[in-house]
């Protein structure tokens, strides 16, 4: 290989890497980040997007370059070079994906840990009220026992019981015995949800929180999160649950502490008198 081609190859690899990193940092494919999970998630997404862009545009570049550079010209006869293998080269491109995969794996483990995925379920707020045997049965979604940046104690988290059915979510607040079709949560407070389905499998998904957990009949699941931005976000059922699956939506209202308290007081009174 001559010096100029080597320089050209190295130059294009560097350009490719810079392009990939730029794409990862600047092209935003995600909605607003409105929970502690979401910021961590977006960090992982940017890294994966950069790596993916470098690999994708690199491979496309190689294929297109080969097709143009090594195409058979009119009237040309004969075969290409009889190269059957090249051990150093093959070791190189076994090593590249291995290293990328190891990096991605370790990095996503770190992200997973920061989301609280590795925490034991015992830290969940519900367990104060549960019997031991039911603790054994509960399965955690990601963010179970999630630790937010301000390091609040999980005992402060607000417990909410979620019931999913064809085709609605129902939210029950044990404190104040509120039953609501809309999820109201205060900003910057950890929430701990215990979810169970009455009929088929549903899934609780808030894209802006970057969390999803199936809601399963006969098998309670736990999902914890801490919203960080006030606003209204959609709650979407993400598991095919019947004809009206597409219409099974609700809203989560993230509001500041005062508004939440006002909502809570107003509704818990109603709830108390009616019951």
């Amino acid at each position: 290989m001559s010096k100029s081609t080597a320089a050209l190859a190295i130059g294009s690899i560097i350009t490719l890497c810079l392009l990939g990193i730029w794409i990862g940092q600047n092209v935003n494919f995600l909605p607003v980040d409105a929970s502690t999970n979401a910021t961590v998630y977006d960090e992982l997404f940017k890294a994966l997007f950069s790596i993916g862009s470098i690999l994708f545009f690199g491979m496309v570049g190689l294929v297109v370059y080969s097709l143009v550079r090594f195409r058979r010209k009119p009237g040309e006869k004969g075969d290409g070079l009889a190269i059957e293998d090249n051990l150093p080269l093959e070791i190189l491109w076994t090593a590249i994906p291995t290293i990328v995969i190891l990096f991605v794996g370790l990095y996503s483990y770190d992200i997973y840990d920061r989301m609280g995925g590795m925490q034991s379920l015992q830290t969940s707020a519900h367990h104060d009220h549960q019997e031991m045997e039911s603790i054994q049965k509960i399965w955690g979604g990601i963010g179970s026992g999630s630790i937010d940046s301000t390091n609040k104690n999980l005992k402060d988290s607000i417990p909410i019981e979620v019931t999913a059915m064809q085709f609605a979510f129902l939210f029950h607040y044990p404190e104040g015995d509120i039953l609501s079709g809309e999820l109201h949560v205060p900003v910057d407070k950890p929430i701990s949800m215990r979810m169970e389905s009455k009929d088929v499998i549903h899934a609780f998904w808030v894209p802006e929180f970057r969390i999803k957990q199936d809601v399963i009949p006969g098998q309670p699941t736990i999902l914890n999160f801490t919203p960080t931005k006030t606003g209204k976000y959609p709650i979407i059922c993400a598991e095919l649950c019947g004809p009206y699956h597409g219409g099974m939506r609700s809203t989560v209202v993230v509001e500041n502490e005062n508004d939440y308290q006002a909502w809570h007081e107003k509704n818990s009174k109603v709830s108390v008198t009616s019951s």
Partner: protein, 563 residues
């Protein structure tokens, strides 16, 4: 020890088989006829599945459910998935090309078990008709191709039961085919032909058949239990009777993740046959290709629970399956680098077969990258069950497998029919398919990340624009079928004669007439010890020298075997 099969002791069997066009509608035992039967039958189901896909895209032009009733929409998406997987891609990449090519590649006159082979094919049309007819009985299954309970237990039973019966038949056909391929590749090789001299497609089919034989019975057992839950009100998966719905998911994905490799490994093999011929270069890194196929087979069994990251799985299980799934990218990556290295320095004829194969590389790389991303638990909890996943797996099964099927049809059509396809129309077909496909599925990545779940008939109005682009892409894909159909039908009658070996290829199927005679060769099967020996004789790029030298090699090897 392999036994050489003497030619034409078979006047009797020739007379038993119908001849002419009628044999394609008969219980023919000829592997080439069965291969074409698989291919044409699969393509008819592809057109049906494609029509269903078009119905889905029409429904999604507007954000409200207005084109068809909601339960019909769920039936349509269930049928679309089931037909495309079990009646189009799996039978075609395995059954069609496997039956046609494998006996040539191992130097045999037919498959190991010709009757079993014919039975395996003839299970498919009734199973397919049964599946489609369920729509007219009491509504087809409407719980998706995954048929998760309790939804599959609570939706109308007739459609779901017919769906189970049909998938059981198709699974049985697949198992029969797998057993036949394993026996043929391992036991029917021409004397002197060693395993490491086989064309790569043999390795792909061997690996795939191992997956089929080991994993399909698990699906069959699972579906039988599911049918008990529906008919006999047992409680295997029914939570109201103490059953566990997540167990079903484990069992289902134990088959259905390997099923992805059952759809793509043969495609990898086919591309490995096509690229060397048209770039006039040996397949790069044969040995690493073989090992990477087998690595994918082994790892393919250890990744199923990555479909269940949001189902409620313990943390250790999520980590294990993340790591196992990610590592499949390593052997897969090797193959892609090897294909690019095969192109590199070649003299590539830019024809429809090469374009579809290169289109496959580009699409599959994107599908593979999104696949590695989805394998990461923290990434998956957001993207799972959204249109991002829909985009990902269509890049794998359409951008991957279906592009390879088209590439293979352009490559082997001269062998099948003895006539050439029109390459200009082929390039038009490629351009329309590639543009339509990417227009249809690329925007779905964004849709999924921004909050559109899969399998919905209605969606948030903010997603109208990208859904309409996607539907335009689907329309272009539908249109792209027309020039292809015209090309294959018209060329069968009026295409220029191809001759025995229009591509000057070295693999054994080209070393006989086009179309090949019954029992494949007039005389002794040639021994091709270097199926990719391009460029070894740059003065005269023709085959005779290569093959003759192999013949002399073979004698000495046979002697070795005898000793």
């Amino acid at each position: 020890m392999t036994i050489s099969i003497p030619p034409s002791s078979s006047d009797q069997s020739k007379k038993l088989q119908p001849e002419g066009w009628l044999r394609y509608f008969s219980f023919s035992l000829d592997h080439k006829v069965i291969g074409i039967q698989y291919l044409v039958c699969g393509f008819i189901f592809y057109l049906i599945g494609g029509a269903l896909a078009s119905a889905i895209r029409i429904e999604l032009v507007s954000p409200i459910s207005d084109f068809m009733p909601r339960d019909v929409y769920n039936q349509v998406l269930t049928l679309h998935g089931t037909i495309m997987i079990f009646l189009w891609i799996v039978p075609v990449v395995n059954g069609a090309f496997g039956n046609y090519l494998i006996p040539f590649y191992v130097g045999a006159r037919d498959m190991a078990f010709p009757r079993l082979n014919a039975v395996a094919f003839w299970m498919i049309p009734p199973a397919g008709l049964l599946l489609i007819s369920s729509y007219f009985i009491n509504g087809a299954a409407q719980s998706g191709w995954t048929a998760y309970p309790p939804l599959s237990i609570t939706t109308p039973a007739a459609g779901q039961l017919i769906w189970i019966l049909s998938v059981l038949l198709l699974g049985g056909s697949s198992i029969f085919g797998g057993i036949n391929f394993i026996a043929t590749i391992l036991k029917l090789r021409r004397p002197g032909l060693r395993l490491m001299q086989l064309p790569m497609y043999c390795w792909a089919i061997l690996g795939t058949s191992i997956l089929v034989v080991l994993s399909t019975p698990v699906l069959a057992g699972t579906l039988v239990l599911l049918s008990f839950d529906i008919v006999a009100h047992t409680g295997f998966f029914n939570p109201t009777l103490g059953g566990n719905v997540v167990v079903y998911q484990h069992l289902f994905w134990f088959y259905s993740h390997p099923a992805v490799y059952i759809m793509v490994l043969p495609a990898f093999g086919l591309v490995s046959e096509i690229l060397p011929v048209h770039s006039r270069k040996p397949l790069f890194g044969y040995t690493t290709m073989v090992y990477s196929i087998m690595a994918i087979v082994v790892l393919g069994f250890l990744v199923w629970a990555h479909h269940m990251f949001t189902s409620g799985t313990p943390p250790w299980m999520r980590l294990f399956f993340t790591i196992a799934t990610s590592f499949i990218a390593v052997p897969t990556g090797i193959k892609f680098f090897n294909w690019v290295a095969t192109l590199w320095g070649g003299k590539i004829s830019i024809n429809s077969a090469v374009l579809f194969s290169c289109g496959f590389i580009v699409n599959f790389v994107l599908g593979g990258i999104t696949g590695v991303a989805l394998a990461q638990v923290p990434f998956d909890v957001h993207a799972h069950d959204t249109y991002f996943v829909v985009a990902h797996f269509h890049y794998i099964v359409y951008g991957g497998s279906v592009f390879v099927i088209f590439s293979s049809i352009y490559h082997w059509y001269p062998k099948f029919t003895g006539r050439m396809l029109n390459d200009s129309i082929g390039k038009l077909h490629f351009a329309l398919t590639f543009i339509g496909f990417n227009l249809c599925f690329a925007p779905q990545h964004w849709l999924g990340l921004n909050g559109m779940p899969r399998r919905v008939a209605e969606y948030d109005p903010q997603f109208i624009f990208f859904n309409q682009i996607s539907s335009v892409g689907a329309l272009i894909m539908a249109i792209s079928t027309l020039p292809f159909l015209w090309n294959v039908i018209n060329s069968a009658f009026t295409g220029p004669l191809a001759g025995d070996n229009p591509w000057s290829a070295l693999t054994p199927e080209w070393l006989t007439s086009s179309p090949p005679p019954i029992e494949n060769w007039e005389g002794e099967a040639p021994l091709v010890s270097k199926p990719y020996g391009y460029g070894e004789n740059p003065e005269k790029p023709n085959l005779t020298s290569n093959i003759l030298s192999d013949q002399s090699n073979s004698d000495s090897e046979e002697d070795e075997v005898k000793k």
